[in-house]
């Protein structure tokens, strides 16, 4: 990549004042991305950040790269057009749980289905922030907000399960409080050929403060979460003493020695789906890390390949030949 070693994190910061609430998890994610870009020597002129609408979607304004802040829920469709027209661009889509799972649900699943070669970062704070605190499609059942004074009655989406159901080829989860973990996941996502879906649990300090503390706060995280690391044993616990093994259709807690090795590359996404469903089981840890990473055709490449094939087979199109084709006749 160009400009290697000459660019620093600061070079990826735009001159715009960042306008998120003080303490918002978005700051940490922004900083982690800027650092990641500098660390891998990304060329800012080749990078495009695309977003929809919501707090997270202001992200492109703060990156000193190309950026397109589009309309609510539709960023995946814009990104699809951008990548199809220029597959060389390094495209990052930043979205939130409302933008991606609610108004943009349709585009979200079709982006994953097409496997456009790009990265999709979904900040999940389980709440609508920019519209001031209404529940989102990932809010747990019973969540009380201004639009659900008696508690929500709709069952939430599990973003990881949804992404797997849509045939996502790279599905991962990370945490806004852990820069190192984010850097690991960003690197793996960036390396992946295809749509890399990354759910980032993100704190909304105003409307859903510390919603994830029961599972990911420093003092409980080791017990309540597990990192899915491809090729490594599924181990967790304060002393790394516990493990997970898959028996039939069940995930069971076992000793560290008996733990299964995590394989994110199985042909079927069933193991990853099983892992994603642990979120709902209070006796099992919530998984972070890489659920799935498999290879598949990328639409953006294939759509251009078809053009090359057509040109190779039929020769480059000639406008006159096109217009003057079919059954022509002369009038003198």
């Amino acid at each position: 990549m160009a400009n290697q070693a000459t660019l620093t994190k600061k070079d990826f910061q735009s001159d715009q004042e960042v306008r998120w609430c003080p303490g918002c998890g978005d700051y940490v994610i922004l900083s982690a991305i800027q650092k990641y870009m500098a660390d891998v020597g990304a060329d800012p002129s080749q990078v495009v950040f695309v977003s929809g609408i919501g707090c997270s979607s202001r992200f492109p304004y703060y990156m000193n790269t190309y950026g397109f802040h589009t309309i609510h829920g539709r960023a995946p469709a814009f990104a699809t057009g951008i990548k199809a027209a220029n597959p060389e661009l390094d495209v990052w889509l930043v979205t939130g749980d409302g933008d991606a799972m609610s108004i943009g649900g349709n585009h979200f699943i079709h982006l994953l289905r097409r496997n456009i070669n790009m990265n999709l970062l979904m900040f999940n704070n389980q709440i609508y922030g920019l519209t001031k605190g209404q529940y989102s499609p990932t809010s747990p059942e019973g969540t009380r907000t201004k639009t659900s004074p008696m508690g929500t009655i709709d069952r939430p989406f599990n973003p990881i399960s949804l992404a797997l159901g849509a045939n996502g080829t790279f599905v991962a989860r990370t945490l806004d409080t852990d820069s190192k973990h984010m850097a690991w996941i960003f690197a793996a996502a960036h390396k992946h050929q295809g749509t890399a879906f990354v759910e980032i649990l993100q704190n909304c300090v105003i409307f859903n403060k510390d919603f994830y503390d029961d599972t990911v706060a420093k003092d409980v995280r080791a017990e309540k979460t597990i990192d899915l690391i491809p090729g490594e044993k599924m181990i967790y616990g304060a002393e790394s003493e516990k493990g997970l093994l898959v028996k039939g259709w069940d995930v069971q807690v076992c000793s560290a020695e008996d733990a299964d090795v995590w394989d994110a590359g199985t042909e079927s996404s069933a193991p990853a789906f099983l892992m994603s469903q642990m979120d709902d089981d209070p006796n099992l840890p919530m998984p972070l890390g890489i659920f799935r990473s498999v290879e598949a055709t990328c639409y953006d490449k294939a759509v251009n390949q078809q053009i090359e094939e057509a040109i190779a087979k039929e020769g480059p199109g000639d406008l006159k030949e096109l217009i003057w084709s079919g059954n022509c006749w002369e009038i003198d």
């Binding site: 735009s14 715009q16 800012p44 002129s45 080749q46 950040f49 695309v50 977003s51 492109p60 304004y61 990156m63 000193n64 790269t65 190309y66 950026g67 397109f68 802040h69 589009t70 309309i71 539709r74 995946p76 469709a77 814009f78 990104a79 699809t80 057009g81 951008i82 990548k83 199809a84 027209a85 220029n86 060389e88 661009l89 349709n106 585009h107 079709h110 759509v303 251009n304 078809q306 053009i307 094939e309 057509a310 040109i311 087979k313 020769g315 480059p316 199109g317 406008l319 006159k320 096109l322 217009i323 003057w324 084709s325 079919g326 059954n327 022509c328 006749w329 002369e330 009038i331 003198d332």
Partner: protein
């Protein structure tokens, strides 16, 4: 085989100038193919022609019912003609439903060719007829040619090993052959077409060819007609090379041409919708031109992907019809706010809501000009005929890239599916309008405007030119700004930029006197009908001039002065007076008379001439 007389050799041959023929049958009877083949052959014979396909939205409505009737009307002529004709001279009715639905439009004394094989008790019941029109006197005013086409085609194909069902399906080619005999048309073009169409199914190719030939021979053997007709080739069309073209084909070519003239790659995002889908289909087959076509998950994704392509420096295009336009309107607003070029093709159909998907209407005009949130101006152009479509589509591309703006191109169902001879343009003479992308950071600002009011276009990937844009209000640098004065200034600039487009229009043309009692002002697909109605009116001693608008928004700057020359301006539209509303609000001092028709069918020439007569008599 019996020895044949040379077909028609002993029958009188009468010369005609014009014939209007309508093929009508069940949706599954192949009437569109029949009509298209008759069209192709007539074009190759050298006639001028115009067509009006008219089919139901259902792919196969219940067999034999009235809603399932599919029709194809064409006028072919040795004169320069402008319409598919008001009333058919000949109706070919393949079943009772087709007869019942179409009989009222047939000319008095016209010919009805009836497939008597489909007039059994059950057929009549399906068509909701209590009595058999062949026997109850309802055809007394017409010349009826009864032919049991069902049986004839089975007889003709008695040697074939095809199933009875497959043999019966050849009846449209038998019918076509018969009509070719009546109008002295050659069989070769259709024979050739069948050869290509059924290249991999020789048994079907041979059966259909035999049916065509048998129908042709039958004209002579069975002495169904007293004579044959000939419509000589026209000598009224300008010299040159012609081909037959429909509107959607021509728009697709216009997209390829427009992008090429701009030096850009065309990227189409689309979602199938009647009657626009064939543009997506056409362009999907033109990959060798570098055209990217994407069939997205919905109408919204389709326009968003196209805008994404424009963001990268390609020419984004989306094609749709009314309901899809409604879904796309938020994204259009973004394209206006971001100031990116985009071509939006709206092939209008009858609304509101799903309306009548296969019927024509011009009722998206106000939606195109005004139908978005905020002050969101956008140039709007209208195609007037299939042979006009290439040029207008190229013009829409030019405006889009020169003014960095989305542009709406309005066509409609009549143009999309109707066809006519097209005098092929000199491709080498098409004027290029190459895009210059901005690459120099020195003094560059994302929304710094040139003399036209247009902003620079930067391709992502260009070093040191990174920008961020979006739907939030921005300042000249492209940064978010909620400053009151800035929003006023940017709104004014976007508004003025679109008005500036009118500076590049050629002078508006009035056909006829520049002053007078009445000007007929039309837009879109009614051009041919208005042209014919004006000619007929003038011949009847009624002085009218006519003007056809290509640029719906912004309106031409010379229009106001032109209208001053007329006491009244008649505006026929297939909507409830939408252009009339725009004209009245922009140029309130003129006397506009709205003439509205929303039956899902084009105007008849006679409707316009009658209206002209009534106005001039008052």
């Amino acid at each position: 085989m019996t020895t044949l007389k040379k077909p028609g050799s002993e029958l009188p041959l009468e010369q005609l100038e014009n014939v209007v023929i309508r093929f009508a049958g069940d949706s599954g009877d192949g009437m569109q193919i029949t009509g298209n083949q008759f069209t192709l052959t007539s074009a190759l014979v050298g006639n001028d022609l115009a067509t009006l396909p008219d089919f139901p939205a259902e792919i196969r409505a219940p067999v034999g019912t009235r809603p399932g009737v599919s029709g194809f009307q064409l006028q072919f002529s040795s004169n320069d003609i402008h319409t598919p004709g008001d009333a058919p001279d000949v109706l070919v009715a393949m079943n009772p439903a087709a007869l019942a639905v179409n009989l009222s439009s047939l000319k008095a004394g016209g010919i009805v060719v009836v497939n008597t094989g489909s007039f059994k008790e059950t057929d009549l019941r399906k068509a909701k007829l209590d009595t058999n029109p062949l026997e109850d006197g309802s055809l007394d005013a017409f010349r009826v040619i009864p032919v049991d086409i069902n049986q004839r085609v089975l007889d003709a194909l008695s040697d074939s090993e095809l199933s009875k069902k497959d043999k019966t399906r050849c009846k449209n080619f038998y019918t076509l052959g018969l009509m070719y005999w009546v109008y002295s048309r050659p069989l070769e073009p259709t024979m050739e077409w069948l050869g290509e169409k059924f290249a991999k199914k020789p048994e079907l190719r041979d059966a259909n060819r035999k049916a065509l030939q048998s129908g042709y021979n039958a004209g002579d053997i069975h002495e169904l007609f007293q004579g044959r007709y000939e419509v000589p080739k026209t000598d009224e069309l300008p010299a040159g090379t012609y081909r037959n073209i429909n509107g959607n084909q021509a728009v697709a070519m216009g997209v390829v041409a427009g992008a090429q003239l701009a030096g850009l790659r065309p990227v189409l995002g689309s979602y199938p919708i009647t009657p626009a889908s064939t543009i997506l289909e056409e362009l999907a087959g033109l990959k060798r031109f570098g055209v990217i076509t994407m069939q997205l998950e919905d109408e919204i994704a389709a326009i968003c992907a196209a805008i994404g392509a424009s963001f990268t420096g390609s020419l984004g295009i989306t094609c749709t019809s009314g309901p899809g336009m409604a879904l796309k309107s938020e994204a259009m607003g973004l394209a206006v706010s971001a100031e990116l070029p985009l071509l939006i093709l709206d092939i209008q159909r009858a609304g509101p809501s799903t309306g009548m998907p296969t019927k024509v209407e011009q009722s998206d005009l106000l939606q195109a000009v005004f139908g978005r949130n905020g002050d969101t101006p956008m140039p709007v152009l209208a195609v007037s005929s299939p042979s006009d479509a290439l040029e207008v589509t190229i013009e829409a591309c030019r405006i889009a890239v020169e003014y960095m703006t989305p542009v709406i191109l309005l066509s409609d169902n009549f143009i999309a599916n109707g066809s006519e001879p097209w005098l092929l343009p000199d491709v080498a003479a098409l004027k290029e309008f190459p895009v210059q992308f901005a690459t120099d950071p020195e003094g560059h600002q994302t929304y710094k405007r040139d003399a036209k009011g247009s902003r620079p276009w930067v391709k992502p990937g260009t070093p040191k030119m990174a920008f961020r844009i979006g739907g939030l209000e921005k300042d000249t640098d492209g940064n978010i700004s909620y400053e009151p004065d800035n929003h006023q200034a940017m709104t004014n600039q976007r508004h003025q930029k679109v008005l500036n487009v009118a500076d590049t229009y050629p002078p508006t043309e009035v056909v006829g006197e520049a002053e007078g009692d009445l000007l007929v002002l039309g837009w879109g697909s009614s051009k041919g009908i208005i042209t014919q109605a004006s000619i007929d009116s003038c011949q009847a001693g009624r002085k009218v001039s006519r003007l056809h608008l290509r640029n719906i928004w912004p309106l031409p700057k010379d229009l106001d002065e032109i209208l001053t020359g007329f006491k009244a301006i008649l505006v026929p539209e297939m909507n409830m007076g939408q252009l009339t509303r725009v004209l009245r609000s922009e140029m309130p001092q003129h006397n506009f008379i709205s003439y509205s028709k929303v039956t899902g069918q084009p105007f008849l020439v006679s409707e316009i001439t009658d209206k002209i007569a009534r106005i001039l008599e008052d």
